[in-house]
Subunit: 147 residues, 2 copies
Amino acid sequence: MHKPFELDRQLLADTLPVGDLPMCRVLLMNDSRYPWLVLVPRRSGLVELDALDRHDRIAVMDDVHCATGALRRACSIDKINLGALGNVVRQLHLHVIGRTHADRAWPAPVWGNGSAIAYPQDAASTRVSTLAGYLAVTRDFRVTEGD
Amino acid sequence: MHKPFELDRQLLADTLPVGDLPMCRVLLMNDSRYPWLVLVPRRSGLVELDALDRHDRIAVMDDVHCATGALRRACSIDKINLGALGNVVRQLHLHVIGRTHADRAWPAPVWGNGSAIAYPQDAASTRVSTLAGYLAVTRDFRVTEGD
């Protein structure tokens, strides 16, 4: 019997839910400084990418590809930054971040660079809907139902 | 006619060659503070992971998986950090970094955290040989021949 998937509390606090791709929960980092998605494979107890078998690793990377495409369509982006760190939040999660030459941290990584600036309520809803719309081009995308 | 693959000068300067996996050149970051591999897909002009087709993206991730396994066997590691940033060096490259709770940057990311401390000559050769040995468990691993 598998334990049901549960999102880490810190990730829950820092993000807004966008929906589910086949393997991953898709979250928008509530930081208006960068278009920033966080993908969390919906498996209980997962910490490292290499703990997944090849089939599941490919499913994660397919989701990353979809998320990258949605970010590119929704925002003007000069460079994608992809990262799976997990030094603080242990639950496996992948950052897909759209960077521009004019953003606050460029060319440094965004992690640890100042504090998040939450989206104004309306801007958050709009960005989530826009991203969900582009992700929905993917056959198996579903809007997350109440966590 | 494809342009032949050529390693970015900065990557060349900062690393030691370990060998070639099926898709990627494997480099050891010449920074003794962290066990740190850099994987560079051997395609000319490549900047973003999502520019590759699915087959090639999977090949890259298979190489990342092999590199992760070699790092784990060669070193004592508490957490793997994976990153593809490319804000400074444009040529697509993926960082596979072994982190420990006792390392200098923990739990922060390693990028931009102090300056690299080059390996002493002997330690570099030993680490490269050890890693090459573990990578060679992978069928298609080849030692890089003169760049």
